[in-house]
Homo-oligomer: 259 residues x 3
């Protein structure tokens, strides 16, 4: 059953999945993360498909997780553990999708939006995009499984810029850093993303599927155990996170004390 | 005993190995893959050497595996298993060569030619080269051991462009993607490749050898077992490969059905 | 107890560590490596800190290990084993420092200086810097633990250029190769390095610390055993090293024989 904020359409052998929540620049709440996982898992099982394009409405890709929903859906350790599972499933559904996935990126590609983009096999972005991860502003941190693809895509220095400095790259910079497969003028992002998906569709699907899983397979298993993985939700119990979340709601600048 | 299509010459402490089969843009048949392995293994054992340059005649590096020979040498599972062994030995003979190896790339560097280039320690290429992997057009896929150096060189995003999209890069793009050590005007490729080999030869050979093996060693063992490795020849048994091979011979566009 | 050649100052939540041995372009002798380890280990334990900047006096970062001190401090196997321990501790003290570390690079960033820079989380460099590793000129080789961060930062091709070719990059090239987080005009390096440290300091310190260790953690353990690690000091017993060291002292060009 499709979710109105995540419509899936079809153009020949290509599926197009759209983030459609323009009032919050396509930021995802829990229901949308679940819809993303269900959509991608369904598409993965569809043998007639050749590739999938992820895009956003309103000239923007996605502003990430919807922080305004934290008050109800997140913010305590128990809720974060459940939320992390849903995000994890959504993220992995892209990486594990049998078909190659193309992110067509306009406007904001921030936080979880950038995380989604790094899970894709290809990223076509406009010159004017804003690509970055803002977890540090809220005292949040990323799961190992979501950091790993950044390392395999662009190396440890770029990962530090994204995660620690919270640097926001434009399209040209993101290309130079290896975060975009290509950078194009802002007006032609969707057209170029679809053209790339069509080139993929022209090639052998068995070859594409083998190579997609081989690139993932050769990265090897994560060198962290389940306990370490669970640690990544520990932020919910820190004073810094609680203060920063309150500051976000009242539009103040957060003050961090390191606890 | 040298092979006429793979002559090896010597300039001081540098060996030059030439792909010399200009009628098919230096595409390799099985005998040439074997000659490559034997040449490189011999050079590796030669303590008086300091570096090796790989180049092609006729203004082109190599168009890869010679598809026209598939009818006799390849195309069934049993033949592919044998052929894969020969290619594997040729590829690894470059990677395992004790001396640093420089690819001097002009013109076409396609398929197995690009595979050979990514096995080298250095790649000097002209602006006008065509660098790409076309396996997807024939319903073929690469062995894990030949995909892994692409990942270690240029990351997962570039590997997807090469293997899944089948993108053909020019010299400037290949440099931006980390696939070339440097890009130079087309007329000076060999000269710059030899100059690089001479700079290597001026340094300590023990230092070069230690560092070459250390870069390889730190990549760690492949995280795939022998069964998975063998899987990569499975394409020979697919309907798609057989159809695409027939289409290649009759110069038609292949139609893939995913079986 | 601070070392006069490695003063540590403080600007708010940022510590600044300065290489201050201008007569040898801030090359490090054993005492300075020890001072670096002690300084960084002390700063790592300081909960009130948010980031650390490494810089050099006199418009230069560091010319690496001070070769002139080899005669007393290094050059035999037993001495090299002790020296390697000291260097290793200094190098790892940056990588293991709880706080993000920024290298502000002007002028020479050579040998151990470049090694130090690749241990940092961020590298801001001027257009006119000289970034490279000269071990090959002296018949020396690097420890696995110091090669590994180069691979994780910039891949195997760039590691070969640095370690095997001994290529010296300017700032623009080092940026293109992924060795610099950013390249800036020569006159504003320190200012830009401090600005980056201040941006880090504005974010959540717990988030920064988690992400720093996660990037390191996801690289996994080194795939080499202790015996192999010890091998890297074997150069001290070679004829080539002894000759090259003598040639350095008499300002002659070394001749290497591969023994």
């Amino acid at each position: 059953m499709p979710h109105p904020e995540l419509p899936v359409s079809r153009e020949g052998e290509i599926a197009v999945v759209t983030f459609n929540r323009p009032k919050v620049r396509n930021a995802l709440d829990r229901a949308m993360w679940e819809a993303l996982a269900e959509a991608m898992e369904g598409l993965s099982g569809d043998e007639s498909l050749r590739s999938v394009v992820l895009r956003g409405t309103g000239g923007t890709f996605s502003a990430g997780a919807d922080i305004r929903t934290f008050a109800e859906e997140r913010g305590t350790r128990a809720r974060e553990d459940r939320y992390a599972e849903v995000v994890h499933r959504g993220m992995q559904s892209i990486r594990l999708c049998r078909h190659p996935v193309v992110a067509a990126i306009e406007g904001a590609c921030i936080g979880g939006g950038a995380g989604i983009a790094t899970m894709c096999d290809f990223r076509v972005g406009g010159e004017g995009i804003r690509f970055g991860i803002t977890a540090r502003n809220l005292g949040i941190w990323y799961a190992y499984a979501e950091i790993d693809p950044i390392l395999s895509l662009a190396g440890s220095g770029v990962a530090a810029e994204l995660l620690i400095e919270g640097r926001i790259f434009n399209g040209r910079e993101a290309y130079e850093k290896g975060l975009l497969s290509r950078v194009v003028p802002d007006g032609v992002v969707e057209q170029e993303g679809m053209a790339l998906a069509r080139r993929i569709a022209e090639g052998s699907p068995l070859s594409a599927r083998f190579h997609k899983q081989a690139i993932r397979r050769l990265r090897g298993p994560l060198p962290v155990g389940p306990e370490e993985e669970a640690e990544a939700n520990g932020f919910a119990e820190t004073e810094d996170f609680r203060n920063a979340f309150r500051a976000f709601l009242t539009k103040e600048k957060p003050r961090f004390v390191g606890r």
